[in-house]
């Protein structure tokens, strides 16, 4: 059965994934909007940077974030000068890393949803006296709802599943940075296969339920 440290790891994982997803929905929306609407020559480059975590090994992202956020890195210098200390091996550090790591899984579905809306609803709203901001909230967001649902589920699930980045940036500190995936690794290292099984099975069930929800709530071709 699950021990106290297992429960703590599950709680920490859920907390990390929730905070990360919420942050990403806020940060990802303007990025997705810009990527969906811009004609700037920078579109390709920015889009590629956002998508990097899809192809890079998590250890590479973790390594660079560790260097950047460390005491001698640029981000680390900044956080220290602001009196925040250094981020690696803290929960905040994990959140920052997860935001980078899960960014494409949130930005891309939202961007696709924005692109699918097209030009006409924006023009129709403008002829009905809605300002651009008003249009965004009254037309774009409701029409992009399926994209937001996909983005939330994927962002959450992807953060739950991360391992390499966590290990690089967060280490393995109980209650602070030890998430489920690391906990499973520890169990296996310690030959505690029984406990590893429990947690692993929970992860499998969780992932299945998440994807099931995604496919039933958001069937393709429902729009219009």
């Amino acid at each position: 059965m699950l021990g106290d440290s297992d429960i703590a790891a599950i709680v920490l994982t859920l907390k990390l994934a929730s905070v990360t997803t919420l942050l990403l929905l806020f940060i990802g929306t303007p990025i997705a909007w810009w990527l969906a609407r811009t004609r700037s020559p920078w579109k390709g480059a920015i889009g590629a940077v956002v998508a990097l975590p899809i192809v890079l090994p998590p250890t590479v992202i973790g390594f660079y974030l560790l260097v950047a956020m460390g005491p001698n890195g640029p981000v680390g210098q900044l956080t220290q000068s602001l009196g925040l200390g250094v981020l690696p091996f803290t929960f905040s550090g994990l959140v920052v890393a997860s935001v980078f790591y899960s960014m494409p899984f949130v930005v891309q579905p939202i961007q696709n949803a924005f692109e699918a809306i097209g030009e006409w609803p924006l023009e129709a709203a403008a002829t009905l006296r809605a300002s651009p901001l008003d249009t965004f909230f009254s037309v774009v967001l409701p029409l992009a709802r399926p994209g937001y649902l996909t983005a939330s589920v994927l962002g959450f699930a992807h953060t739950v599943g991360e391992f390499g980045v966590v290990l690089m940036i967060g280490g393995n500190i109980p209650d602070k940075t030890r998430v489920v995936s690391v906990q499973i690794y520890d169990h296996v290292e310690a030959m505690e296969y029984g406990q590893a099984h429990w947690l692993a099975a929970i992860m499998v069930a969780f992932s299945f339920v998440v994807l099931l929800l995604l496919y039933t709530l958001n069937p393709t071709g429902r729009r219009r």
Binding site: A126, T127, L128, R129, L143
Partner: protein, 362 residues
């Protein structure tokens, strides 16, 4: 170059796309329906979009009934222009019910500026039974009616319609046209109506701007402009005139209506219009033949004495287009050149125009 005209729409746009130049300088009436007529690619929709502010048009000027919407110093974005826009495909918001679609625009207009009530718009387009539905559950014609009502509910000072019937089949067009006519008769909102369909223009417009290659090649009252022999656009089989007439009598026995127009009268099929009702009739040039003396023993119902004004070569070398004066009105007739020779056609000559078909346009 004063754009402060008290009434009327003054539009000056020069938009240079690669390969296409829209260059117009127009003075349009500030009331009634003005058709922007032309083939596809003539720039009529681009002009409408520029007037709406949907198409960026640096250097453009636009004043609507004395109010400057755009000039060197001012550019009001679309949402700050008191206009209504009806798109070719009814652009109803799919996530909102019909009622919420109608309210979307209306609630964004300050209460003091509301002159058309929601009930009025609903009644005018006859969509009361649709209010609870989602757009996906409407037919194409119903959707377009809701789109028109939604635009009206914002109490626009200018209504822009971009081929609102183009996406509909013939039967649905006939379903919508009466509503557009009601709009024209019951509301005092100037309308710019983009169309490439001569029958729509003949039926709805008071004024016409003919667009070709990004330029306005003709601009004038509908009846005068359609009767021009030098109209610089190929109408083909649709060449003809429109007359403003009034029903003066109805023949119960033969189901015919007697209609007076300035300079003459016609019998047309009775379509139930009461005596005294004004209506338009359209006479196509191909349905008018000419004779030197009144012909008896013919099935033709309407024969009008007409004076030859002028004639020009028509699109086909065998044909000629003749302009005739009937009282104060003008008619066009399409003849073969051979017939014109046989008639010894000369300006000032009195002939008898036999009219094979007259279309009553509601």
């Amino acid at each position: 170059m004063n754009s402060g005209n008290a009434s009327g729409i003054r539009a000056r746009f020069r938009i240079d796309y690669s390969g296409f130049l829209l260059d117009v300088d127009l003075d349009l009436p500030g009331r009634g329906v003005t058709a922007l007529f032309g083939h596809s690619g003539s720039g009529k929709t681009t002009l409408l979009r520029a007037i709406a502010g949907l198409e960026p048009a640096p250097g453009g000027r636009l004043a609507v009934n004395g109010e400057v919407w755009q000039d060197e110093a001012v550019f009001r974005p679309t949402w700050q222009r008191p206009l209504g826009y009806v798109f070719q495909e009814a652009s109803l918001f799919p996530h909102l019910s019909v009622q919420a679609n109608l309210q979307y625009g209306q609630t964004r207009v300050p209460a003091a500026a509301r002159r058309v009530s929601l009930d009025q718009a609903v009644a005018l387009l006859d969509i009361g039974h649709l209010l609870g539905r989602k757009p996906a559950r409407l037919s194409g014609g119903e959707r377009q009616r809701v789109g028109i009502a939604r635009a009206l509910a914002t109490s626009p000072r200018l209504l822009l319609m971009d081929e609102p019937l183009a996406a509909l089949d013939h039967a649905l067009k006939q379903e919508i046209l009466p509503y557009l006519e009601r709009l024209h008769d019951e509301l005092d909102i100037p309308v710019l109506y983009v169309s490439h369909a001569p029958d729509e223009v003949a039926r709805l417009a008071d004024h016409i701007v003919v667009m070709e290659g990004g330029h306005a090649v003709a601009n004038g009252p509908l009846t005068d402009t359609l009767a021009r022999l030098d109209l610089p656009i190929k109408l083909g089989e649709d060449v003809g005139v429109v007359l403003d007439a009034v029903v003066t009598a109805r023949d119960e026995e033969w189901h015919l209506a007697h209609m007076d127009f300035p300079g003459g009268h016609l019998w047309v099929r009775d379509q139930g219009l009461p005596v005294g009702h004004p209506a338009r009739v359209r006479i196509l040039a191909r349905d008018v033949s000419l004779a030197r003396a009144p012909v008896t023993g013919t099935s033709i119902l309407n024969t009008l004495p007409a004076i030859v004004v002028d004639s020009v070569a028509d699109a086909h070398p065998a044909l000629t287009l003749v302009k005739l004066r009937v009282g104060e009105s003008l008619l066009l007739a399409r003849l073969t050149l051979r017939s014109a020779h046989a008639l010894e056609l000369t300006p000032g000559q009195l002939l008898y125009a036999q009219i094979k078909a007259v279309a009553l346009l509601g």
